[in-house]
């Protein structure tokens, strides 16, 4: 069972240094599945929003597997984006459509999109998934 990986032979990536592992996919286009689910990015989030606000808004569409609402490291306020993971594609798709149309979080509209996409190039990233 060979472990094929991307070999990038530019100078900086000579030899082993050019082997980057990635997840298997077809040629795209479209959103890319992550190891355990589908990840959305939400942007334009109100500075004082809490995780609960996001949890409430997104869990209407299905059970949330993971939620990262990262803070601005200097101010302690919300940085402005969040990553939300659903196990099921349909839940993620519904959340994407539903929340984009909704009032948003804390009265501020947010923009939701897929976080990861399939590579566009034909033949790129055709590797065996590791672990």
């Amino acid at each position: 069972m060979s472990k094929k990986q991307v070999i990038d032979n530019t100078d900086r990536y000579k030899g082993e240094a050019g082997n980057f592992q990635s997840l298997e996919s077809d040629d795209g286009p479209g959103p890319m599945k992550s190891v355990e689910g589908w990840i959305l990015i939400a942007k334009g989030i109100h500075e004082e929003a809490q995780e609960d606000d996001l949890f409430d808004a997104f869990s209407k569409y299905g059970p949330i597997k993971n939620l990262h609402l990262n803070l601005d490291r200097r101010t302690g306020f919300v940085k402005g984006y969040a990553l939300v993971e659903f196990s099921e594609f349909a839940h993620a798709q519904d959340a994407l459509n539903g929340i984009n149309k909704s009032e948003g979080i804390c009265g501020k509209k947010i923009q939701v999109d897929w976080a990861f996409k399939k590579p566009n190039k034909k033949g790129a990233l055709k590797q065996i998934k590791k672990q």
Binding site: V6, Q21, S22, L23, V35, I39, N70, R73, E85, W114
Partner: protein, 151 residues
């Protein structure tokens, strides 16, 4: 080389040092087409070097651009920043529209290292931007590949 592509985007950050346990480092790199490469070598993982690659959406790229623009790092320069030393080095390279920066400095252990430098204001911008970028990258990589990036 000047280019007029408004959407040209490149981001690379490296932090590391070479010491008793070999080359310990963290590096990530973004291109306009969304390709994200991440590499992390830590002595806690013995000799295992993690190298991952994925493609992020245009929405993610534009959020990185927003964070970088708001930080105003493009206005800074590293001429008065501490030089890399045996404790380590950091490199930050960004192309955003027509702007291109390439900064090199030592590791910064804490905000105290920033306050006591010759350019505390500029270095502070760098210090916090790096933390925000790492936070975002660690979330993306950790969630996508189900691994725990080591700082």
């Amino acid at each position: 080389m000047q280019t007029n592509q408004n959407d040209e985007f490149y981001l690379r950050y490296y932090v590391g040092h070479k010491g008793v346990y070999g080359h310990e480092f963290l590096e990530f790199e973004f291109r306009s087409d969304g390709r994200l490469r991440y590499a992390n070598n830590s002595n806690y993982k013995q000799d295992v070097l993690i190298r991952k690659e994925c493609f992020v959406s245009e929405s993610v790229i534009s959020e990185f651009k927003r964070i970088i623009e708001e930080s105003e790092i493009i206005k800074e320069n590293d001429s008065k920043w501490p030089a890399p030393d045996k404790i380590g080095r950091q490199e930050l390279e960004i192309k955003l529209g027509n702007a291109h920066i390439s900064f090199t400095t030592s590791k910064l252990g804490s905000i105290h290292d920033v306050q006591s430098s010759q350019d505390p204001d500029g270095l502070r911008v760098f210090f916090y931007l790096i933390q925000d970028l790492k936070c975002f990258v660690f979330s993306l990589i950790g969630l996508h590949f189900r691994i725990k990036p080591v700082n």
